[in-house]
Symmetry: C2
Subunit: 169 residues, 2 copies
Amino acid sequence: MRLTSLADYAVVMMAAAARHPADARLSAGLLAEETGVPLPTAQKVMGRLASAGLLESARGSGGGFRLARAASGISLADIIEAVEGPIAMTNCIEGSIHDCALEGSCRVKPHLNAANDAVRGALAAVSLSQLSQSPVRPELVEGLSFAGPRGEGFDRLSPNGVETEADSR
Amino acid sequence: MRLTSLADYAVVMMAAAARHPADARLSAGLLAEETGVPLPTAQKVMGRLASAGLLESARGSGGGFRLARAASGISLADIIEAVEGPIAMTNCIEGSIHDCALEGSCRVKPHLNAANDAVRGALAAVSLSQLSQSPVRPELVEGLSFAGPRGEGFDRLSPNGVETEADSR
DNA sequence: TGCCAATCGGAACGATACGGTCCGATTAGC
DNA sequence: GCTAATCGGACCGTATCGTTCCGATTGGCA
């Protein structure tokens, strides 16, 4: 139940992209710089987002990426599925895979199906335009240690001190 | 966003365990047989469930497992967390891990936090007693290709035809 | 009372796929 | 026509997952 690092990066980068004007050409290098994601990895992430249809890509010098749709029409579920594939808690939920011997007589599958829909619904309810906005509706984040440093150094996603290279890990 | 096979097995095995009388001693071998999970793997799964406090274990001959609480007091989220660890979509949500360079200035973290709570809530809303019941509330599964083979072969978890090399039944 | 068998618990091994990196293909600009 | 910038796909090391095996523990039986 943890999304992969690639998907995590994708969310951050899409949110950063949504903060730019809709018609601007965004290179992988620019977004990598803004988000602190290493450039080669950023390229890979954006490539997947493009092949999934969330970004439009243009090759060659002066090329780059652009949101394929309005930010309000892209959901968190879309981004995750673009990078990780279909949101399916178990193999048996995904239609094409049938490696479970109990298929057809499994009692828990319908329940898991319902739970999966609920999870997917929760993710589909979050739009990219929400993700790109700074303020958060307070009732959603109460009780969290991280309340949001609303004041200082908040307009730049990636100050110079990011010291990336995934330093320790 | 896919749960591991171990967690998948755990859900199926817990549901099978809940179908037995509450005071019955259940060995890993019995539940492995009922669910079709290979015995060594079933042992590992039940060991984790026991160390997480969802099952009570007794060693030695005549030992076995037993639900530590009533099935209605165990949620799907409990089972998943017992096997996979905390439900945290990203590393930055889990309190102890701080390997993200953007920590503290990340705009999307609050939103991800809210989404994570929603996902966890959806999983916590499903109780083991629901999982162990055969019929599914129709409004939860509508629109799914799998509507539920309610008629045939539905009262046995593991019919003879499971056709797996581990079936040994 | 001593031995045996059954069962849980933890350690070790192999496989899958994830994350990261590099190089080639393509295209605008000069 | 050439150069430079950028995307796209292929490759490899590594970490985690899944599986298996063996030892520890305890009740039952002779």
